[in-house]
């Protein structure tokens, strides 16, 4: 009988459908009064953990506890409530008003891992606001754990997992012992939509809060944003009269030939 503890890391980001704008000062993306939601890759991670739990329960070969964690300001708890409504068992909020960069988040997650002692940590491959694609890898480095990134399929074995990864030019299948880090790719699963009864139930599930400062971790940012600008506006298209005209334009104006 295997009893797994799965830790899922989630992040509250600007909703994917929002048309973002640079703020008036030109220093960052405008996030005030803008719709936020859980990072789509983290939704896939939460869904994967819950599917593992349900598969173990269905085959009666073990149990799993799904613990979700999020590092950020008070509003990060909204993301945790969403994950609890999807089916996670309990939540941990690492509270910090500071700007947390991937290295800081990885260090905070390491402290949580040392407290919770999970058998696997699932993260989204990247957050859609900063697109760093670093936290999972850095956490694996700090913990000295194996990592399987860009997972599109996961099978659990006895104290091991076999993961199919999406890489440039194809897929790769690897096997790693547990405990290990997993980061999710888009094709891993289809996240469920939380129903209203489950959202009500989630309010009763435990949510623990730790202050980032209490975890004894250096979370000072290492990177400084110098400039943020919107991409250049798209130029209008041109109509061409003939094939010769097209070739001429491609060669002389667009300079692609």
């Amino acid at each position: 009988m295997s009893n797994l503890r799965i830790l899922v890391a989630t992040k509250r980001v600007v909703d994917y459908a929002v048309k973002i704008r640079v703020n008036a000062a030109g220093s960052a993306v405008e996030t005030a009064n803008v719709k936020h939601s859980m990072n789509p890759f983290d939704e896939i991670g939460t869904e994967q953990a819950i599917q593992i739990k349900e598969a173990l329960a269905k085959s009666k070969t073990g149990t799993a506890e799904v613990v979700v964690v999020s590092c950020g300001p008070a509003k990060a708890q909204e993301t945790l409530r969403t994950a609890l409504a999807m089916g996670a068992d309990r939540a941990i909020h690492v509270d910090s008003e500071e700007d947390l960069q991937p290295l800081a988040v990885a260090k905070l997650l390491k402290a949580v891992v040392e407290k919770e002692k999970p058998d696997m940590v699932i993260l989204g491959k990247q957050a859609i606001d900063d697109d760093s694609n670093q936290t999972g890898q850095m956490l694996a480095g700090l913990l000295n754990w194996p990592q399987a990134t860009f997972a599109s399929k996961v099978e659990l074995g006895d104290k091991s997992m076999t993961v199919t990864r999406e890489v440039d030019g194809g897929v790769e299948t690897i096997k790693t012992p547990l405990p290990a880090i997993l980061t999710t790719d888009l094709r891993l699963n289809v996240p469920r939509y939380a129903s209203l009864p489950n959202i009500m139930k989630a309010k009763k599930k435990p949510l623990a809060k730790f202050a980032a400062a209490d975890l004894g971790v250096d979370i000072k940012p290492r990177l400084q944003t110098l400039k943020i600008a919107e991409p250049p506006k798209r130029q209008g298209g041109k109509l061409v009269e003939s094939v010769d005209d097209l070739v001429d334009k491609l060669k002389n104006e667009a300079k692609v030939l």
Binding site: Y16, A17, Y193, L196
Partner: protein, 113 residues
């Protein structure tokens, strides 16, 4: 309407209302349609008719969830994954003879002639 059915209808209305908040055409538009659809059927008494409407409501819930998922999936795929078709067309454009012989193309005749 019996009490358990009444409860199911109200739960269905609440679930659709919750799903409709993110409706692309607008939460207000969705809410108007939702209220209209439920009000139109409020005087039904035949249990099998009521059950048919509830099943339709469940079906609409699933449709909306599927639509939300497809929209998100397509947006993520477009942003993070190179379109293989675009790459193929790019490669073909670069391999045409009028692209490759660019230094001597002034003396080459166009394909039409």
């Amino acid at each position: 309407m019996s009490t358990p059915t009444r409860y199911r209808v109200i739960a269905l209305y609440k679930q659709l209302s919750y799903l409709g908040r993110e409706y692309p055409a607008g939460a207000d538009y969705f809410h108007k349609k939702l209220k209209g659809a439920f009000m139109k059927n409020k005087d039904l008494t035949d249990p099998s008719e009521i059950q048919k409407r509830i099943d339709l409501g469940d079906y609409v819930c699933k449709e909306i969830e599927a639509m939300y998922h497809i929209n998100k999936y397509r947006a993520m795929k477009k942003r993070y994954y190179e379109d293989a078709e675009v790459e193929n067309i790019q490669a073909k454009l670069e391999n045409t003879n009028w692209a490759q012989g660019s230094s001597s193309s002034a003396t080459q005749s166009s394909p039409r002639q």
